[in-house]
């Protein structure tokens, strides 16, 4: 078979970004008829790669492409087909790293390169869960971003009650952001436990990451902050809500991230005020779960996504 038989598909281009030391991998959907030059970047959801659960990103990208938008589905370093690797034993550790902005630096480079390479005028960052968080944090620091369209944005850490600091060794799920402040955990009690030292001495625990967590926890306690709330994301959100940037937050009604979001909004007046001033920036898909798995939920999601983009860029 000669090379002509394996030409890349015309409308779907394979992208590689050399951001040393990493090679970042993505797929760009190029519209046959671009309406304006708006690009949407879908950052990968948590530890999952650029396709997303039930190919959610592929289906969304095809829809946007058909409607004249450029779309980039991209793997951050350590994920999918990009180079690197997490040195983590548990998923909540991986999610904790992402929630602390592990991919933001790379995300900013991706935004700038994508905009330049396709001569785009407007950039929208988006993604599910960890992908929306990465996009939001990158938007806070990057003026190239015109809009944020986040779905299932997590405002609470996944790993603050990680197994090292937990009362039961099995590792129960973290509490809702609003609930946790009422039952602070004494780390000093944990440090006295034999099991913990056994784990440390046998290398079962990543000491630097746990020390980092401990430091953050102590800082939060000293500042009398709720240890489960991701203040970095809250600050970025408040900043963007008070800026001229466009922003839409889509949640699923049965997603625990919505429950967390409401609890955080209730506990932070600045955020509540900023959201009130931007009326209509939150949309809730009735009955839907975190991954928007049923076709009727997905249709509604597609509709609000597309309508929002059109309203932002082509009808105003």
């Amino acid at each position: 078979m000669d090379d002509s038989e394996v030409e890349p598909c015309v409308m779907t281009q394979i992208k590689r970004f050399d951001f040393l030391p990493h090679e970042i991998f993505g797929i760009c959907h190029v519209p046959a008829q671009a309406i304006g030059r708006t690009g949407v970047i879908l950052f990968c959801p948590g530890h999952q790669y650029r396709v997303g659960p039930h190919r959610m990103y592929v289906k969304l990208a095809r829809l946007l492409e058909q409607n004249g938008f450029y779309v980039l589905r991209v793997d951050s370093e350590d994920i999918g087909d990009s180079t690197g690797g997490f040195n983590c034993q548990y998923l909540h550790e991986v999610h904790g790293l992402i929630q602390r902005g592990k991919f933001v630096k790379t995300a900013r480079k991706i935004i700038q390169t994508f905009k330049k390479e396709y001569s785009l005028k407007k950039i929208v960052v988006s993604g599910l869960c960890g992908g929306s968080l990465t996009g939001l944090l990158a938007a806070r620091k990057c003026r190239d971003v015109d809009a944020v369209l986040a779905f299932g944005l997590p405002l609470a850490y996944s790993d603050v009650s990680g197994h090292i600091f937990m009362t039961n060794a099995g590792g129960a799920a973290p509490k809702t952001a609003g609930e946790s402040s009422s039952s602070p955990i004494s780390f000093f009690e944990k440090v006295r436990k034999r099991d913990l030292w056994k784990k440390i001495l046998t290398g079962q625990i990543n000491i630097p990451s746990k020390l980092k967590l401990l430091r953050e926890e102590v800082e939060k306690k000293l500042l009398k902050k709720n240890p489960t709330i991701n203040y970095k994301v809250v600050k970025a959100l408040v900043y963007l809500l008070n800026s001229d940037r466009k922003i839409k937050l889509i949640f699923s009604e049965n997603d625990f991230h919505l429950k967390n979001f409401r609890a955080v909004v209730d506990s932070i007046p600045d955020l509540k005020k900023s959201l009130t001033q931007r009326s209509g920036c939150i949309f809730i898909i009735k009955g839907a779960n975190h991954i928007i798995s049923l076709p009727e939920w997905e249709q509604e999601f597609h509709k609000i996504f597309l309508d929002t983009l059109r309203f932002w860029f082509y009808e105003t």
Binding site: M1, E5, V6, R55, V58, G85, F86, Y90
Partner: protein, 294 residues
Amino acid sequence: MKRPSNMIRAQAGSRREAFFFPNAEGANLFGIAHIPVKDSKRVGVILCSPFAEEKLNSHRVFYNFANLLASRSFHVLRFDYWGTGDSDGDFERATLASRVQDIISANELFKVRYGLDIIIFVGLRLGANLALKAASLTETSYCIAWAPVIEVYKYFFDLLRINLSTQTLQFKKIVKKRGDLLGDLKAGRFVNIDGYNLTWALFEQAEEYSLTNILNVLNGNEGFNLFLVDIVKNIKRPNRELNQFAEQWPKTIALKIISLPPFWKGGIPQYIGCPESLFEYSLSWMTQKLNPVS
């Protein structure tokens, strides 16, 4: 206990090519070839993905295994079946037969494009059954099956449970039991499993892809070699059926039981990107089998 590295630090020994290539219907399939820099073997390995969300969950394991193999002078191809991953098509229109055809297309492309003499199929879960089926239709003599699905119909039937839990979320009760869902499928309707639409065509073809049926065909192929890997939680409680296959066909099948969390499943607390024991035993089997020809 040693902390898992979750990454292969051997990428310097290989390069990658990503491309789209046509399947038998002319639709675009997405593939990534890992090419060894020092090419001492003319041996290629095709990695065959599992089904639905199991593919998503095991993506990084395939990536790392491909890197490892390429650093040991194997050519490796990872690709997406039609209707999955970055390939063209819709999931609900793909069948088991179309997936096998895609493996055959990938096999043809891979051999010719890189001038390879020998191809080894490696599959995980349902991907292992598909790889074995494709091997029975091609001249492929070497296969590795990681935790293959023994009864494919039962596997699909068990997946229907996911729909029941979505119903509970949606309606606060189960409106349709699994029997009703099968009725829907037979009537040509889709049944949604975590966002993937199952079809009756999958159930109809399932029997043909059960491990017993495929192995019965393959066992007649002279010189066929299979490395069967039983991945279990507790090594003292292995899978009886897989053991029976290995006892029945000792010349064809080598069995290894490995204790590992089921990394292809969502909802497990561990992050597993690089199951070292699985990689090591598989690589060691390949090297041992291919020594006379490399």
